[in-house]
């Protein structure tokens, strides 16, 4: 498919309409974010970064809990994605719907639901408690809340990645002497890793931005979005803004860096 160049856009009235509508939605996303960022004072931000340990801790906690939830998601979600991409079986559509379920469940509702399994007095909570892991008002609670709401992004991206691989590549590998395990790690995974990486990035970013599910299970220790909410409630708009801007900047830097790395891999 040949791409039309930019001047052609303006000759076609329909395309021009599409462009105008697109600009509206882009402004809708960018204007609030940019207004917030530029209305903050760099001095205040630095002051916050250097002196308010609570803010730094919250941002750091957010980043690494999202990372842990993505890592667990990789281990548990990628195999499921592979099975969904490669096999047809009765009930597959239902399983795919289950994977998408966290996207439609209201996030505070998701938090409540998780408490019914991982709460102190419930089955999962008791099992993990015997292993010394508690969820309520603890870091593992943040991880499971983030994982619940963000896992669909990884599973779906990985599934699409696996689907794009010709199954005959795997067949040829088998005839050449590769066991199913060797085939998966030497052929399938290297060919799907870019989709998995971009899915991981989406899952991580979605985890970082989570508030509703996390706040139900774990108010303290506070992740950044909870802190933004708390400062907004107790100290007002400006205080909340400063934390929000720092969180956004931290995430943007990481997101852009990872994007850059993964796309460089694509060109190589």
């Amino acid at each position: 498919m040949k791409r039309k160049n930019i001047s052609a856009i303006f000759k076609n009235k329909l395309t021009l309409t599409f462009v105008i509508l697109g600009v509206v939605i882009l402004l809708f996303i960018l204007v609030p974010l940019l207004t917030m960022v530029f209305s903050s004072h760099p001095g205040e931000l630095f002051d916050l970064l250097l002196h308010d340990k609570v803010v730094i801790n919250a941002i750091w906690l957010t980043i690494y809990t999202a990372l842990i939830s993505t890592a667990v998601g990789l281990i548990l979600g990628v195999p499921l994605a592979y099975v969904l991409a490669r096999y047809d079986f009765p009930g597959k559509k239902i399983i795919e719907a289950v994977v998408d379920l966290p996207i439609v469940v209201p996030h505070t509702g998701a938090g409540i639901a998780l408490l019914f399994v991982f709460g102190k007095n419930f089955f999962g909570g008791k099992v993990f408690n015997s292993l010394g892991i508690g969820f309520v008002d603890a870091v593992p609670g943040i991880v499971i809340a983030m994982m619940f709401v963000s896992i669909p992004f990884l599973v779906n991206a990985a599934k699409d990645g696996f689907k794009r691989i010709d199954p005959r590549l795997e067949k040829v590998a088998r005839t050449l002497g590769a066991t199913p395990r060797q085939t998966f790690f030497n052929v399938t995974l290297p060919l799907a890793w870019r989709s998995i990486l971009s899915g991981s990035l989406m899952m991580w970013a979605r985890g970082v931005s989570e508030f509703g599910a996390v706040v139900i299970i774990t108010y303290y220790p506070m992740i950044a979005s909870t802190l933004v909410y708390q400062r907004f409630e107790t100290q007002g708009l400006d205080a909340a803004r400063n934390v929000a801007v720092l969180l956004i900047l931290a995430c943007l830097i990481i997101f852009v860096a990872l994007r850059y790395i993964s796309q460089r891999g694509e060109k190589a």
């Binding site: 010709d166 005959r168 590549l169 067949k171 040829v172 590998a173 088998r174 005839t175 050449l176 002497g177 590769a178 066991t179 060797q182 030497n186 052929v187 290297p190 060919l191």
Partner: protein
Amino acid sequence: MIKIKNLCVSVGDFHLEDVTLDVQQGEYFIVLGPTGAGKTVLLETIAGLYRAQSGEIWLNGRDVASLEPEKRGIGFVYQDYVLFPHLSVIDNITFGLKQRGKSRKEAEAEAGWTIQLLGLSSLLNRKIDTLSGGEKQKVALARALAIKPKVLLLDEPLSALDPETREKVQQELREIRNKLNQTIIHVTHDFEEAVALGERIAVLGDGHIMQVGTAEEIFCQPKSEFVARFAMTRNIFAGEVRDGEAECAFVNIGVTLIEAVTNLRGHRHASVRPEDILISTQPFISSARNSFKGTITDVFSKGSTIYLTINVPPDFICLVTRRSFEDMELREGGKVYVTFKASAVNVF
């Protein structure tokens, strides 16, 4: 060497029923059949990629039907090569050896001969997407040969190539077979390709093996209408066969009685290849037992050769060169004589 007994496989819409084949060590064996006949499923089942519902696959005296594909030692080359896009040429070729625990160095040394054989040494560090079709084909062959397969399975290996490259690759396949005494099973839908390469041909139609034999046998003595049509025998007639004069039999194909050499009697088919029919503008005396007057009803040019439809009745399709066509001043509506020997009539 490789014996397939009563193999039944069903994959999606494809069904193979009661396939029995016997391929000798070092033989170049062709499986010929139209698209959708189940050729690829047959190869994939031999390679172990599909499990057969029933039947046996014997490889060097061992039943491998229940063996995983990686334990069979069977090389496979797909029509569109299916090279690993994330690996270089050399890493594709040494893939199989590395899976067997060989180090990169060992694998490259051990695969050296295939690289020599196929003349790939200048391409080793290239990426797959920079190769031409012919080059990809060679890499796919080298990759399959590197594991020293007991049998090499080729799935339509020439179909995706341009005619010139196709001829080269055909030559290479012959060399592989001759130099290595490599047993090869090659599936194709192209009759000419089958005749050019195969020592023996199995015709596969609708999940069944219709006939197995040398190219000559398939070409000249098809045993069913399906094989006859597939072998491009244009003139196929249904008719009653009854005793004739001497060793000949009469075949009543409607209004016309033709003579054939056969022991078969009763309701049968008779076929005559277009190139076995002689065209003349005058009747002439010859040893050929069949000669009829007819009218040219259609002229179909294929470049240097021309197909004529001549209504006797029935319609006979005959082949003449453009040269004779012009010299004899043939044209649609013209009266001609068709002549063919009784021995050119195949009854089945």
